[in-house]
């Protein structure tokens, strides 16, 4: 079902106005519009749940449950917050709650006792040859990148996903995960440097060999 959305000239403003309009319609009882409201964010919601739960089926269930909780609490949403951030935070809460119920958290918890402040030294210093964003058109590349992300310890992966993939700001990431801003920054640095090293190693293993780089030259 579509809603009667007022036309706005500026596209960015249009998206925001359209969203605000949808929110108020759902809050007033037009529940059938809720899916239209959350549809632009379904990928982000799923990715947030997957970063925490690491299992597709669990992530999908958590994402759906989070959407239902958002629907149940839509009247509590206040316009001063970004709707996407509110939705992601509900999802993170749902996923964290589920993970706490899982025994695996005991195993992963050991990780968390490592020193967050320990410096991470980059391993590869060869000239960096940029991987073009067009590479993401290839599913194989996306899978490689996702696999690299999956090798990170939980605490690095979660911060990275929320900040760099979900585009929460540092403060929002800290609030969503219940950690300090300082921890977010430290973990983010480490996650980014580790991924850089993993992609560098991936180059050497030929992950991106079909990309259009100068013939015969190393990517960096």
């Amino acid at each position: 079902m579509t809603s009667n959305i007022p036309a706005v000239n500026n596209p960015g403003e249009a998206v925001g106005t359209r969203e605000q309009h949808l929110i108020s319609q759902v809050q007033r009882g037009q529940h059938e519009l809720f899916y239209e409201l959350v549809r632009p964010y379904e990928r982000r919601v799923y990715a947030a749940a997957l970063a925490i739960l690491r299992n597709e089926a669990d992530a999908e269930d958590a994402a759906q449950e989070a959407m239902l909780k958002a629907f149940a609490n839509i009247r509590q949403f206040r316009a001063e917050a970004r709707f996407s951030t509110w939705l992601i935070q509900i999802t993170v809460n749902e996923a964290l709650m589920r993970r706490r119920r899982e025994r695996t958290v005991v195993m992963e918890g050991i990780d968390d006792r490592r020193d967050d402040e320990a410096d991470y030294a980059p391993r590869d210093f060869a000239d960096w040859r940029e991987i073009p964003s067009e590479a993401l058109e290839r599913k194989e590349i996306r899978q490689r990148l996702a696999a690299a992300l999956g090798t990170l310890d939980r605490k690095y992966r979660e911060v990275f996903v929320l900040r760099d993939m979900e585009h929460l700001n540092i403060q929002e990431t800290a609030e969503a995960l219940g950690i300090s801003v300082g921890s977010v920054k430290t973990r983010l640095l480490r996650a980014r440097l580790m991924l850089r090293d993993l992609l560098a190693a991936g180059w050497e293993q030929g992950w991106f060999s079909r990309l259009p780089f100068e013939k015969g030259s190393k990517p960096w």
Partner: protein
Amino acid sequence: MVNCEQVWREVSNYLEGEVDPALRSAMDEHFRTCARCKSVMEGTRNVVALYGDERMLDVPSGFSRRLEKRLAQGGRVGRGWSTWSAWLVPVAALALIVGTLGLARSETLNHPLKSEHAQPGHDIPPDMLVVVTAGANLFHAAGCEFIHNKNTERTVTAKEAIREGYVPCLRCMRKYLHTVQARLLGVDSQMNEREVVEAEDFPGAGR
């Protein structure tokens, strides 16, 4: 002046725009002279750009459809969905299941079907009087030529016969069978009409 280790510690903040102007200038200067640190910074920026791309947010096949369906189901819970009302759905579902089971139990067999090949029948009037015999599997309309052991005939209601595990005679009770096979074969309409008459002609047939 900053050294390489300091640059590595701050490269993430640098990309976030969260270093003060003096440090930013010092790092920019460092990148001009240190290829290694420049490689670290550019690689890290590339990582942020790649993973920040919408295309990295894959969802499983059918995700959207399943989500929409679940939201539609959740949405039906009602306006002002609250914790207590959310419980109404599973409670109502449970009540329905229990009720259905209870009803089914009352209508179904006290004994297992007497024949593995039997068809249980559908829409049989429970008070219709039928004939059963000892050692047989079927119940019949009175006068059915396929009644065996006629000397042991008992007249009972269809409901009682079903409870005892008897099943409808394939000939005289065909109208209540409605088997898939009968539908596929196209049961002769005249035959059906004749059998309906037979059943209805039976004294006390209840319809």
